[in-house]
């Protein structure tokens, strides 16, 4: 469900601070038909060119609110809305090289009425935007 919309084209870019790339970020949607409280978003893991981001290096942002991925379990007063493009930021000194990257996003959503976690995987070739 909605797999093809998970990775948002044109959203992969380096984060540059004081002239140096320190991280990259990617726009990600949740493959689900309603919004979900962040405490139930168990994992949003980005893998670029086979290198999986460490949770501790990952920050998740929705509508201007940023959270360390590792602290999402406690966030009971904010949501990832239906179709909302969240920004996933991964600390990555030097940033990503220019060009096309193999990007995979793996999500694990704790959905109370489902016996197994929701979420799943999406994969796409994405070009780094300036």
């Amino acid at each position: 469900m909605f797999e093809k919309y998970v990775i948002v084209p044109g959203t992969l870019r380096n984060v540059v601070e004081s002239g140096r790339a320190t991280a990259y970020e990617l726009g990600v949607r949740m493959p689900y038909y309603r919004g979900l409280g962040l405490s139930m978003v168990e994992d949003v893991s980005v893998t670029v060119d086979g290198v999986r981001a460490e949770p501790a290096a990952t920050t998740f942002t929705v509508h201007g609110n940023s959270y360390p991925l590792t602290a999402m379990g406690e966030v009971v007063d904010d949501r990832w809305e239906l179709g909302e493009v969240a920004t996933v930021r991964v600390e990555h000194p030097g940033g990503l090289a220019a060009g096309v990257h193999d990007v995979e996003v793996s999500q694990r959503l704790r959905i109370s009425y489902m016996p197994v976690p929701g979420g799943g995987r999406a994969r796409a070739e994405v070009e780094l935007s300036a």
Binding site: M1, F2, E3, K4, Y5, R29, Y33, R34, G35, L36, G37, S39, M40, E42, G73, V76, R79, E81, L82, G83, R110, I111, S112, Y113
Partner: protein
């Protein structure tokens, strides 16, 4: 026979367009009004950003939209996030509080039929029922495949309903219980994803024959099927076919119907679900309530085709009109005024 069945639309049907921001609620309600589907069902967690915090402005806009198009708020689908917190389950009291919160919001939205998700424990509805009764709304368990009225889980609910005898408790069956044929949109997607034709045919034929789907995933695996084929076999174990006459068993407690569908064909019928027989059973049982469209085909076609939920819902309502016109309609002021107490 005469009937008192109304037509409506669940906004669930437009999930693709809402997800991609190509339609607004107002657009969806306009569509509903245009096709004569005057009863509106909403999934607040889908449609209201910031849920459960809903501003008065939002509510005002909601009612203004209803007034503008001559539609009426009817149903409200609630979820119950028992696993909200990592590592612990909501307590019984927290679960009841969650339902009461939804009752409060439903009152503001004017929706009198609350969809209780199938995972809601019977004791939670029992303890929330007095509050709902006082608020003048109903808590209706969505009997969804693979459940049915004689399933152990639903029997627990029936026990509570029998004991409490509250007008606030009842059922909202989902017509996905009556999938007679394997949805073509699902098998065709598997083929697009490279599934072996012989294994797709095996899955579809086994399902369509109402054969034994127990062990079907194994069978497909033993035959050399990979994840796509095994996934299709898994789907065959999730769909269920039952005789729509099952609906008669609890008709006196049925106050809303979710008219799930996967594909309205060019011929104006649902490919998998025999709505002609379903409508006849509902009329025979004296059902007084809404047929509320739940389009769920988008997920099976979105990989390769533009999704047109509006067209699909429009076709379903043309079918409803045709099927209902075979029976005489009795004027009704609508289900919102039927509940006493």
């Amino acid at each position: 026979m005469t009937h008192r069945i109304t037509r409506g639309v669940s906004l669930y049907s437009f999930q693709e367009e809402f997800f991609l921001r190509t339609m607004t609620i107002r657009d969806a309600v306009a569509v509903a009004a245009r096709i004569g589907a005057r009863d509106i069902e909403i999934i607040p967690e889908q449609s209201i950003p910031g849920f459960p915090h809903v501003t008065d402005a939002w509510v005002e806009q909601w009612h203004a939209t209803m007034a503008e198009f001559g539609t009426r708020p009817l149903a409200y689908d609630f979820f119950l996030d028992t696993l909200r917190h990592p590592g612990r389950r909501l307590t019984h009291e927290e679960q009841v509080a969650s339902v009461r919160r939804d009752v409060d919001l439903a009152v503001r939205l004017g929706t009198t039929m609350l969809r209780a998700i199938i995972s809601t424990p019977a004791e939670v509805l029992r303890d929330a029922a007095p509050y709902a009764e006082e608020a003048g709304v109903r808590l209706l368990l969505e009997v969804h495949a693979p459940f049915h009225y004689r399933h152990p889980w639903v029997l627990q609910h029936l026990e509570v309903m029998d004991a409490l005898d509250s007008p606030a408790l009842g059922f909202m069956p989902d017509m996905g219980c009556f999938v007679e044929r394997f949805p073509r949109v699902a098998s065709e997607r598997a083929l697009r994803e490279g599934a072996r034709k012989d294994l797709v045919d095996l899955v579809v034929k086994t399902y369509d024959d109402h054969g034994d789907v127990h062990g079907l995933m194994d069978t497909v695996g033993y035959s050399g099927g990979g994840p796509v084929e095994v996934g299709l076999a898994r789907q065959a174990t999730h769909y269920t076919w039952r005789d729509p006459r099952m609906l008669l068993e609890q008709m006196h407690r049925t106050h809303h119907v979710q008219a799930k569908f996967y594909e309205m064909t060019d011929d104006g019928v649902e490919y998998s679900i025999p709505y002609d027989r379903i409508v006849d059973v509902l009329v025979e049982g004296g059902y007084q309530g809404c047929l509320s469209s739940e389009y769920e085909g988008n997920r099976h076609v979105q990989d390769a085709f533009p999704v047109d939920s509006v067209e699909q819902v429009t076709r379903q309502h043309a079918m409803f009109e045709r099927l209902l016109s075979r029976h005489e309609s009795v004027p009704t002021t609508g289900p919102t005024t039927e509940q006493e107490g």
